[in-house]
Amino acid sequence: MSDPRFDELVQWTEGEVTTRRAAELERELASSEPLRAEKAKVDALMESLSRPAPGLDAIDLRPDLWANVEATPAPRARRLPLWLSLAAGLMVMATLSFLALRGDGIREKGGQGSLTGFEAFVVRGDEVTPLGATMHVGDALGFSYRNLPGSRATELLLYGVDSRGETFWFYPAWTDASRPPDSLHIGTSNEPVRLMEAVRHALVPGRLELHAVFLTSPVSVSDAEAGRLPEHEASTLTVEVLP
């Protein structure tokens, strides 16, 4: 059970009683031995809570820290589950936008002569707009790809590399560093195929290169990062990420 006198003394020590009440307590303290004893307990408790254990301040974490840094692999950038929150808006907006935007400034890579290619979109709230020369760090990205009949590609990798060389996986998602996923299996179609997830990574300002790699056999993302790519065609878009 809490002691009201103790509570008030704590509040007084913390400067949380009125000036008038503080003056009353000062006067009472001068004449009351029990109050002085109680106040001494409060002060002792606060002093004990502030007092560090012996030797604590002599500890230097840095030597062990750098040893740990050497021993621990950096975690992969994570995919945020934007899909759930954006699903309804995206489904409607993406379909409408996609039809409306064809031939209207979409940054498309692959060219008319190529059977493969990809397009990127900026997803900001409910808005889906074609990727231009810039985007912002908080923006999500959506993609569509083209793999026309006659193409031999059956697999796709879609990723970004920033100016520091850090890789951000869009497709497939790589959320568990210990389980690198395989490339996305794709078919051929006369129409562009929209990938119905908007992905937002914790990007930093600077240049971001977006790469789409079309392959003829599956490959894991870790093999791709190690440069072990089977036969493939690649397309790249570059965007400046703004703060």
């Binding site: 103790f6 509570d7 913390e14 230097d60």
Partner: protein
């Protein structure tokens, strides 16, 4: 040419420290020495908070190591907003909650050495009190405990604690006073 000081250039010292931390975080993307400086600047404050929260120096050391490792690994993703110290405290408290919940600290397996006989009586008593209090710090709830350790071990003013925990100032005050009362009650119960 140096800029003449003007009122608009005056910022609180704490805010300046935050900005320096942000600058160091940015530099540490490429330079370990910058991160080294950041660790040196914050490690003792973090250790004091964690040791008080967990009541165990060795566990506090482990937790602080994990915090700095996490911060170092996320240095490329850190968004400078002039609130580095507050963010660091939040990361620390989150790790402390997890460490405490894991139950690895139910028993103190590595007791600290007792005071040496050459110490004055006053110091010996203060050290005994500290041990006694730390044995009871786990009694208040997590939310109450974190306020107590930020206030006394971390020496943060109440307004800063409100900022760190992202709760209203009134909530911080009520948690602090409730935690102190719980601590006092717990210690009274154990007293002969």
């Amino acid at each position: 040419m140096s800029a003449s000081p003007s009122k608009s250039n005056v910022v609180p010292l704490f805010a300046m420290e935050h900005r320096e931390d942000d600058a160091l975080m940015a530099l540490s993307r490429e330079h370990r020495a910058a991160f080294d400086t950041l660790v040196a600047r914050h490690q003792h404050a973090l250790l004091r908070i964690a040791a008080k929260y967990l009541g165990d120096v060795a566990a506090a050391k482990d937790v602080c190591q994990a915090v700095f490792l996490e911060v170092y690994q996320s240095r490329h993703r850190y968004q400078p907003r002039g609130r580095f110290t507050h963010w660091l405290r939040r990361v620390l408290l989150s790790r402390c909650h997890i460490a405490a919940r894991k139950g690895r600290l139910v028993e103190r397996t590595r007791p600290e050495p007792g005071p040496t006989p050459s110490q004055p009586d006053e110091l010996i008593l203060a050290e005994e009190r500290r041990r006694l209090v730390e044995a009871h710090v786990s009694k208040p709830s997590e939310k109450h405990r974190e306020v107590v350790v930020l206030r006394y071990a971390g020496e943060h003013p109440l307004e800063e604690i409100a900022d760190i925990l992202e709760v209203p100032l009134g909530t911080v005050k009520s948690r602090l006073f409730a935690a102190m009362a719980a601590l006092s009650d717990s210690m009274k119960e154990e007293a002969p």
